[in-house]
Amino acid sequence: MAFLHVQKTTNRLKGLKNNRSLIPYLLLAPGLIWLSIFFIFPILQLGATSTKTPAGEIGFFEQTYRFQNYIDAFLASKEQFYRSFLYATLATILALAIAYPLAYAIAFKSGRYKNILLVMVIAPFFTSFLLRTIAWKQILGEEGPVVSALRAVSIIGDTTSITATPFAVVTGLTYNFLPFMTLPLYASLERIDPRTMEAAGDLYANGLTTFRKVTLPLSMPGVVAGTLLTFIPAAGDYINAAILGDPKSKMLGNVIDAYYFRIVDYPTAAALSFMLMAAILILVTFYIRRAGTEELV
């Protein structure tokens, strides 16, 4: 529900109180202190840990400022790195393709059913993320209805599976983050004055041109917000790969998890986490810049 409003908040700062009192700082203090201690500080700790080296016993490390850790960690996991971004990109594109027409239909064609349809969009949030993913595993699994049906009509052979494939992982990612794509798209489409689309038709633009020249550019804030809200969690996810994938479709999240809990190599895990965050932030910044400043033709 938060995402419905993400973009609405930006340019409405009129009517703010301008007194130089302490009140705003008192309001901010508890929350920001919390975030500083439990978000900023841990991230700094993570950075510090990433350059440590093992010190004798398992699970003990000392600070040696070994930046080589990053290179080692990257070289050891570059495949999963690449896969994380590939899968997240694919899932984002798929989610956009599914969500855009859906959001469009809800915004412009749903009439009085609008609210019901919006609730249906977020319905997956009402069940457990893990249960949904496991449900997909069983639906697509060896004994599930999809594989049996496809085998019965010989679309796939007896040895071909759907689960434990990259396809299943991307499907799972797409499904799980679909509401994050749909809601911001809906919010930005819903704010478009339908008369601007009528005006385009009136000015000799056919349906496709109207979409390309008017609807799509006006819904860009939603496209940007939706793709970010889908891409970021998808790139860092490892549940879908763990449940729906096989060793060959592991993502960076799986590797970080393994370094922490199985190998107990905190510096490598920290270096990978840091690189993941940095890569996402760089991509996101680049993406926002590009989407924000260039007119889409």
């Binding site: 008369r195 385009a200 038709g201 056919n206 020249k213 006006l218």
Partner: protein
Amino acid sequence: MAQDASTSARGDLILRNLTKTFGDFVAVDDLSLTIAKGSFFALLGPSGCGKTTTLRMIAGLEEPTSGSIHVGTTDITDMRPYQRPVNTVFQNYALFPHLSIYENIAFGLRRRGISNDLIKEQVDKVLNLVELPQLAQRKPGQLSGGQQQRIAVARAIVNRPALLLLDEPLGALDLKLRRQMQIELKWIQTEIGITFVHVTHDQEEAMTMADTIAVMNNGKIEQMGSPDDLYDSPKTAFVANFLGQSNLIPGTVSGNDGDNLIVDLHGNKIAMPKRRSSATGASILAGIRPEKFRIAPEGKGATGNVLTGGVVSDISYIGVSTQYQVEMPWGKELMVFEQNDDDSDFLKKGEKVVLSWEPMFTFGLDGSQDASAGAH
């Protein structure tokens, strides 16, 4: 083929038996109408009367339930909006917020594949016509309401449509700007000679700008004619009340006197020109516009048609004129506008008065109607 219509079709706009229903609701009811090429036509009526639906059907934004729409000899009923020789100035303008003013105006030209040079020439020309050439690179959000309105007009007329539709184009402007834009729109229409079809609920706006007004009510046209024709000779109580104000007094036709009917209004015999009455039976509504009344203290001489026994119940002084409410012996109040052009004595509240007027200013309506239909 159809694409060509957007530039080639010219001529009168002809609506035949146009009907639009939304479920059980009949928005436009069997409307037939011809709008002459080059005229400034106003569809006037209260909200919900079907005028906007009619306009949207002409623009192609609503599909008619039945009936046809022609421009000249071209049937445009089934054409998509972008195939029609019609452009619209939308209510609240619907300017594209993401495009500059220049690109807003160029939008239609670009869709029709016109060369950049020609587009620039035409956009510049139309920006000059609406006197805003300096705003070309701004975005719509940076413009005032009046400026946006002019750009909306420019964006439509730059395409040289056969027909320009204006949907309450001045509704969002303040009074002073509205008056100014009325004059400008009228001037632009004369300048470029395109047929304008203007939808409004503001009778003053329609009167100021249009050559021909069609007053709509409940999906039908009540009456159509020139502004003065409609004002002087309304044919229904709705038109009499909606276009300006009218005093409609029920009475019975009691006789004949050459060119005049003699009508009995609650015991007062008055004369009414026969040609100004649309009533067929004996039951009649006698109509007198408030400014046609003369008002005088009881006892003073009165000529023409006379109503006696009135008492002033309310007075409002509004500069050029004074408005009186006069309670008549039969319990109804009449409205009287008196020009403040002489220093005749002011009347006071509670004072007994006589109302009189020239018989030629009386019009007659069928008595079976609701006398308050269409009153503001």
